[in-house]
């Protein structure tokens, strides 16, 4: 169970990190794909295994919660990362002192928020919690 969960988390994190890094032109908040992958994989595994099992099962292992968790965390990290698709003008960067580290609130932050709201509301719509 433990090894299978970890394997699913690692493989899904690899795919997710690869897809978002190519799509959004980013290496994550730490400018390093390895760290980006490690954090996404760890979050996907550690939080995914705690979620209520839903979706298809294979040999008693439900991979969907782990994959969902990986996607949310990857999206959140992309939202706080410098991205090539959101270039800052070079001259402007020099004039900024304190605020140049601050990340803009763009469409991705709204996407993360929307996903979270759907996930939260979906819990009440699709899953009856045991009392």
């Amino acid at each position: 169970m433990f090894v299978a969960d970890l394997l699913i988390a690692s493989i899904s994190a690899l795919c997710i990190v690869w897809i978002v890094s190519v799509t959004f032109g980013t290496k994550g908040p730490w400018g390093n794909l390895l760290w980006f992958f490690l954090v996404v994989a760890l979050f996907a595994w550690a939080c995914g295994v705690w979620l209520v099992p839903f979706g298809p099962h294979w040999r008693g292992i439900g991979g969907l919660p782990i994959i969902c968790m990986g996607i949310w965390i990857a999206l959140l990290l992309v939202a706080v990362s410098p991205r090539s698709s959101r270039q800052r003008p070079a001259v402007h960067k020099k004039t900024l002192s304190h605020h140049e580290d601050v990340v803009a609130i763009d469409i991705l932050v709204w996407l993360v928020i929307l996903c979270l709201v759907i996930m939260g509301v979906g819990h009440y719509a699709w899953y009856m919690r045991p009392s």
Partner: protein, 129 residues
Amino acid sequence: MLLVDLMVAVISALGIVWIVSVLFDTKGPWGNLFWFFVVVALFAWSCGVWIVPVGPQWRGTGWLPIICMGILIALLLVAASPRTSHKRLPRTQQEFVDANAVIDVFLWICMVCLLMFGVGHYVWHPRIG
């Protein structure tokens, strides 16, 4: 149930964001405490309610998973945020650091917490099914 879950998430996120912003001298990755709070509260609620109910309950709501989720996300965001407590590198490396968060103790704390959270699942909670 929804209202109680949301209330727990909002109150715990308020507390968590206030504590980490004071402790680590940061306003989150967006330089704005409001957005920091909104993201932590939303993650705490939407992921917390999906976690298997563990720990003590209040009005039918297991508040521990919601608070744990809030703490984890706040830690992750602090690790990916600019902080005044960051030791700045020499001027030649300044540009790189400006564009990227620093791999420091906060990231390690976040990863250790995650490891404990994950391993704890196998130790304390027998999987359903």
